[in-house]
């Protein structure tokens, strides 16, 4: 890409916060990038509406000091990201500037840094042969990126069929070295390097087809995997008032989900939360591969104090990087915290453009924008038969914690898993505060998942989950009765039903995100514990009065929790299990 060749120029005619109107002297393109010349610096902006010769642009940085008449250069290109080896471990801002390369403690205006390392050598192995017919997204070769076979692909932008004329020998190369020469149908040669660019707002479509999700995407979080499973290539969202645990949950997903690649978009939230990732991830290992967590992670951080327009761009930057790794056949997890901040950025701009407002002053097309974004997730099959996926989980921060608001409602229409965080559960420290009744996973209804679960988890897995859930609901119902009628006003059976549901809550739903063992539960272990708990649910006990019921179940819950805190099937675990059996045996009705 040659950004020095500007397609046309213009002059600023109006400035309203970060919205700037430019009169152009040539054709302008919707969503093209422009640069305003301000005090010897080029400040970046994007065309978001055109009206005759006038371009309405959003400025990606502060407009302080901007003047009418300032020169503006249009690039003809949309906002693009650079894709190539070396994205992992990087910390980018919303426009893919490498934050670590920025000088100084403060983010100076107009500072831009190249996202990749141009001097680093990568060990390249060719995959394609001269003479091969290739299309965009086909693999030409691969390099080892921190243990991942990072595929060097035919650039997504190339349209049509190409023939491989020449391919580089196995050797060490920099990203800008030519590794292949392709020729198109007209016989023109095109040189391919290890880096390509792609416009972030356009979905990467180099795959053959998208599949319906069928495989469980393991998160190690019981209330998700067991009760509300998300599948590989699936979508989910986490709405909840502030302080209910959205970020803690997302960080847990980033640490322990069964993904090969994790892209985190810190979108308009606290800077200290990103610092937490910077500080903790390098100290932690991927529980499945034993590799350092940072080595599978790429962070796009546009925190709440960074420019609003770049915040809006950040979710697209992150999605495009995720799609890039998916095209290599990798299982990718994309997390965005919070998608509401993105929607708010859209709202700020829409208001400045004086567009007709929709509900709560959000743009009218908010729902369409959110749907388009979520539909970029999914599991894909590529021409070479490989499969990759982008699983997407976003948080939503509803105003006043009220779920009847535009962002939550629009997201609910597209996301298949709904992990609703409840204020009550958070207040009573029942973490993760995912409400077991309100939340759902539509994937439980997928025949593909039924089949998968029978084969890979257990023949009765889905029935067991349903049985467990019913017991939970019954417990909730009798709890209300007990509250109205008093402890003595209801039969002892009511107390048993209630305490059985408390057992489910404490042992399966609640999970200590800060405990090394409890925080991450494998599927075989989840199955084991679900069956254990279901056995107790089916058992009939002889218990005298409600205090005895409470004491008995408190003891059972205590022991089951100790099991959760112990290494699975360790001596300690088995010890607690035996103790549990003794306690139960004393009260079993034969």
């Amino acid at each position: 890409m040659n950004n020095n060749l500007y397609t046309c120029t213009g002059e600023i005619t109006a400035i309203i916060a970060n919205m700037v109107i430019v009169k152009a002297n040539g054709p302008i393109r919707q969503n093209e990038i422009c640069f305003y010349s301000h005090n010897d610096k080029d400040i970046m902006g994007e065309v978001i509406r055109t009206d005759g010769n006038y371009a309405y642009t959003q400025v990606f940085e502060s407009t302080r000091g901007f003047k009418v008449g300032m020169k503006t250069n249009f690039t003809g290109n949309m906002l693009e990201v650079y894709l190539g080896p070396g994205l992992l471990t990087k910390n980018f801002d919303g426009l893919q500037n490498d934050l670590d390369k920025m000088e100084g403690v403060f983010l100076e205006r107009g500072a831009r840094t190249y996202p990749l390392d141009v001097d680093k050598k990568w060990t390249f192995k060719p995959v394609a042969q001269p003479g091969d017919q290739v299309l965009a997204g086909d693999w030409l070769g691969e390099v080892d990126e921190l243990g991942f076979p990072h595929k060097i692909m035919v650039p997504f932008k190339l349209e049509g069929t190409f023939r491989v004329v020449e391919i580089a020998r196995a050797n060490d190369y920099c990203i800008n070295d030519t590794i292949a020469t392709l020729s198109n149908e007209a016989g023109e040669n095109i040189k391919v390097t290890m880096v390509q660019t792609w416009p972030v707002r356009v979905p990467v479509k180099s795959y053959l087809e998208k599949l319906r999700p069928s495989k469980l995407f393991e998160t190690g979080i019981r209330v998700i995997d067991t009760q509300n499973p998300i599948l590989e290539g699936g979508t989910g969202f986490i709405p909840g008032p502030f302080g209910s645990g959205k970020t803690v949950l997302q960080h847990a997903l980033a640490r322990q989900a069964a993904a090969e690649i994790v892209i985190i978009a810190a979108c308009g939230e606290r800077a200290n939360e990103v610092v937490e990732i910077f500080t903790e991830f390098p100290e932690l290992d991927d529980p499945r591969t034993g590799k350092n967590l940072m080595e599978r992670t790429c962070i796009v951080a546009n925190t709440s104090n960074m420019p609003v327009a770049a915040r809006e761009a950040s979710v697209y930057t992150a999605m495009t990087i995720a799609e890039y790794y998916r095209a290599m056949g990798l299982r990718t997890l994309l997390l965005a915290d919070s998608t509401s901040r993105w929607a708010q950025a859209l709202r700020e701009m829409s208001n400045r453009l004086e567009e007709l407002p929709g509900p709560d002053a959000y743009p009218m097309d908010l729902s369409a924008i959110i749907s388009n974004y979520y539909s970029r997730a999914g599991q894909t099959v590529h021409r070479n038969g490989s499969k990759g996926s982008v699983t997407f989980i976003g948080t939503v921060s509803p105003a006043g914690g009220n779920l009847l608001e535009p962002v939550t409602e629009a997201t609910k229409k597209v996301a298949r898993c709904f992990f609703a965080l409840s204020q009550d559960r958070a207040d009573s420290k029942r973490y993760p505060a995912i409400d077991p009744i309100d939340s759902y996973s539509k994937y439980l209804e997928y025949p593909e998942f039924t089949e998968y679960s029978k084969e890979h988890i257990g023949e009765n897995w889905l029935e067991d989950i349903e049985f467990n859930r019913d017991a939970l609901i019954q417990g909730r119902e009798v709890y209300e009765q007990i509250n109205i009628l008093g402890d003595d006003g209801v039969p002892v059976d009511y107390h048993v039903t209630f305490w059985k549901s408390e057992m489910i809550d404490f042992v399966i739903l609640q999970q200590d995100a800060y405990d090394e063992i409890d925080s991450n539960t494998s599927i075989p272990r989840q199955k084991y514990m679900l069956e254990k708990v279901n056995d107790i649910l089916r058992t009939r006990f002889v218990l005298g009065d409600f205090e005895e019921v409470r004491n008995f179940f408190k003891k059972i819950i205590y022991i089951l929790k100790q099991m959760n805190y112990s290494e699975f099937q360790s001596d300690k675990f088995i010890g607690f299990e035996n103790e549990l059996q003794k306690v139960i045996n004393e009260k079993v009705k034969d």
Binding site: I16, T63, V68, L99, G268, N272, F278, V308, A345, D360
Partner: protein, 439 residues
């Protein structure tokens, strides 16, 4: 501010609203400062050569032929060591009776810290108040507001904390303070600290509400100077951020922006985050901690101002009158310090997290017992004991007039456990019970 030769001067206002005015003035910069008949104003919109200015002290009495002088510069103030011990108004003019200060002008409201240059906060800040130090521990570099009802003594609590906190500088940003509260802060700080530690930027209720918009940037830019250039530990007090937000809505409504929830501007979240995110731990040791006040109306925390604040800050503190002792406490249920995990049990004694949780659990049981009592149900022996525990816990430990070291708070809580409860009921890890449960 005196007139310099390059400054542009105009004499024709085309439009005057309550908070803004417009005129034809080519060549001015966005966010540039201007003076209209001596009143400070800032460029908030430019369309062609038509410029809209926000007039901070209000437009009352301005005539269409007022003199408008553009300074050619974005907001600046003289920041330096000479600010120590001084109190200023929203325009940086001294209000303490001492002379005007000259010094190098620095930009106000400058760039953000690169997130990768931040250091994770890790230094404990003690206040002597158990509802904070034990239950919602504060950490340097944190930003946290009090969510308070207007009739609660939040400014007293704020000044008490400031006096006890071991920091190098205290910067007070007062927005819509009563004159009495201003003097209260000034006197209690000068008394408790000697002057050099304190700097105040004060907008009182007598001043125009729009002027308040200047206060946080001045306070925080000053904080940045001391924390970044001088590596000092700076505590910034911002009270009352609700009045600041109200001023934002006044301006945006005058500019015909479409209001979102509760007539607040759609950009409220970004506007507040820009300020609160100035809280930071710098790599060279300096830090900025922000303690703010957000007053609630009718206790409603779903209102746009507290709601957006809660999404930005690292927790929130609630004051509550504990009926069992008729004293003010920091509410153990609704308050939260999100950064406490970084220090409790690490910078403090290892039993701290468990003691904290156990006491709050028992306090919650007491609240349930009280409800039972009110609904006419009979109390069990456990209920009665836990009620006694709660009374002692709030009276002897939580009440904000009690001033203890964290170790004392923990020791005394252990004593209350032993006085009223059994070991099982307290449910703390055996290793701590072995050490602290004295038979």
């Amino acid at each position: 501010m005196e007139t310099k030769s390059f400054q542009k001067i105009y004499y024709r206002l085309s439009n005057i609203t309550k908070a803004t005015c417009s005129l034809k003035a080519p060549g001015v910069g966005y966010e540039e400062m201007a003076f209209i008949q001596g009143r400070a104003a800032q460029v908030v919109k430019i369309i062609g050569d038509e410029v809209t200015l926000q007039v901070f002290s209000g437009t009352e009495g301005l005539s269409t032929d007022s003199e408008v002088i553009f300074t050619g510069e974005s907001p600046r103030m003289a920041i330096g060591d000479h600010l120590e011990g001084r109190f200023f108004n929203s325009f940086g003019k001294p209000i303490d009776g001492y002379p005007i200060i000259e010094g190098t002008l620095r930009e106000v409201g400058g760039p953000s810290v690169n997130p990768v240059r931040r250091v994770q906060p890790s230094q404990l800040i003690t206040t002597g108040i158990a509802g904070i130090d034990m239950n919602n521990t504060l950490v340097s570099g944190q930003k946290i507001p009090f969510f308070a009802d207007p009739d609660q003594p939040y400014n007293q609590v704020l000044s008490m904390i400031a006096l006890r906190a071991k920091v190098d500088k205290i910067i007070l940003g007062g927005m819509g303070l009563t004159w009495d509260d201003y003097l209260f802060f000034k006197n209690s700080f000068e008394h408790g600290y000697g002057k050099s530690k304190i700097i105040g930027f004060i907008n009182t209720l007598e001043d125009s509400p729009v002027e308040r918009l200047l206060i946080p940037d001045m306070a925080l830019s000053t904080a940045e100077y001391f924390a970044y250039e001088k590596n000092e530990k700076v505590l910034v007090l911002l009270t009352d951020m609700t009045l600041y937000s109200d001023a934002l809505s006044i301006v945006s409504n005058r500019m015909d922006q479409i209001p979102s929830k509760d007539s607040m501007p759609g950009s409220l979240y970004s506007d507040l985050a820009r300020l609160y995110e100035k809280a930071v731990q710098f790599p060279d040791g300096g830090n900025i901690t922000i303690l703010a006040v957000t007053t609630l109306s009718g206790g409603d925390i779903t209102h746009a101002i507290p709601d957006n604040t809660g999404y930005i800050t690292e927790g929130q503190l609630f004051l509550r009158r504990a009926t069992e002792i008729s004293k003010v406490i920091v509410d153990p249920f609704r308050s939260l310090s999100r950064l406490k995990q970084l220090v409790i049990g690490k910078s403090t004694r290892t039993d701290h997290p468990q003691v904290m949780n156990a006491a709050i659990r028992l306090y919650a049981d007491a609240a349930n017992a009280r409800t039972k009592l009110e609904n006419g149900f009979e109390l069990t022996d456990y209920d009665k004991r836990v009620l006694k525990f709660a009374e002692d816990y709030s009276g002897k430990i939580l009440a904000i007039d009690v001033n203890l070291e964290i170790d004392q708070m923990l020791d005394q809580t252990w004593q209350l456990f032993q006085a009223h409860m059994s070991k099982d009921e307290v449910d703390i890890k055996q290793e701590f019970v072995d050490i602290y449960w004295k038979n």
